[in-house]
Amino acid sequence: MLQMFADYVAYTLFGLLPDSHLGAAVDFFIYDTIKIFLMLGTIIFLVSLIRSFFPPERTKKILSRKREYVGNIMAALLGIVTPFCSCSAVPVFIGFVESGVPLGVTFSFLISSPMVNEVALIMLWGMFGWQIAAIYITTGITVAIVGGLVIGKLKLEHLVEGYVYDIKMGETELAALTWRERVEYAWEYVVDILKKVWPYVIIGIAIGGAMHGYAPADFLVKYAGKDNLLAVPLAVLIGVPLYSNAAGIIPIVHVLMEKGMALGTVLAFMMAVTALSLPEMIILRKVLKPKLLGIFVGIMTVAIIFVGYLFNGILA
């Protein structure tokens, strides 16, 4: 259906030749744009609907009774369904610690929440297929569980800013939402996210489309193929400052992969973009002493690079 529509616009409406570079690029652009926006709309809506059942106040209550291991696993999973924006990272962190959620479990949540980012996930699904999206979620959750466990074992409670322990949290009972409110909330969220990401998505797909038609095959094998060991750390390094643009970067990465970039490198890059963002580090600095922030970034970097090598190795 979509393909027919894209073909019609590119070849009949614009009169481009199907076997020309320009024709193929335009066709690819129209098809991908419609497909990605349809997926973004539908899935963000469903995810937001689920999220309306898990406000952080509730997640905190669930986690406060959990110990290590079980707690880490639950925190990593709840990180997916609890709505979280980095602007709330400070109150969420304090709330967790205050209600007795162990530090390592709190970190499992803090890692998983931004990493399993729904926009990034849908883009991966749309451009690479559901298998890659599933691999991405699974490794993301694993990194969150392991990262949190390691931080828990290191006993770093003294590296949390002292004032955090002095804060007393109040209790508030919010009325349960009606279904109408949940649907409204989900719909508003879809509009909100799409408003923010649409230019990046379109620019990304356009660049991807252009490269699809023009860049020679195998052009990246030499630089970003599995045999270049530096590709993974380099991808991580490039990924850190690219926070909010995850949506626009994936179409470009998709074409890079077609031209020879290795899958592990792609996964490492995506994880660095979503989980290691500069703005979030700056916000977390308010509750973590520099040393703990450094340890956190260090563990994440090592874990992400490891995932990159692992997948490049498996698929070699």
């Binding site: 602007c87 709330s88 007393k168 109040g170 919010l174 308010k286």
Partner: protein, 81 residues
């Protein structure tokens, strides 16, 4: 009536304040609007996601910005009869 906007300077907090001010103007009521940016104070209301709206010390909204009509509705409900 005392209205507090809880939030430490995120863009949605500014949006919430704007919507609340518009709603107050729509209703033509006299209220006191305070911005609470201190994390300890925000958390004393049991709130973990910002922005949040507190009217006369009761938490009315957490982690979202209502539209103007909804804000008017919330304010109306909180008005002394």
């Amino acid at each position: 009536m005392n209205i507090k906007i809880l939030g430490s300077g995120c863009s949605n907090c500014a949006k919430l304040e704007k919507v609340v001010r518009e709603a107050v103007a729509d209703l033509g009521v006299v209220v006191e609007i305070e911005k609470v940016q201190d994390v300890a104070k925000i958390m004393s209301y049991g709130v973990m996601s910002t922005p949040a709206l507190v009217i006369d010390e009761v938490v009315k909204l957490v982690g979202k910005v209502p539209n103007r009509a909804r804000a008017v509705e919330i304010l109306k409900q909180a008005l002394p009869q």
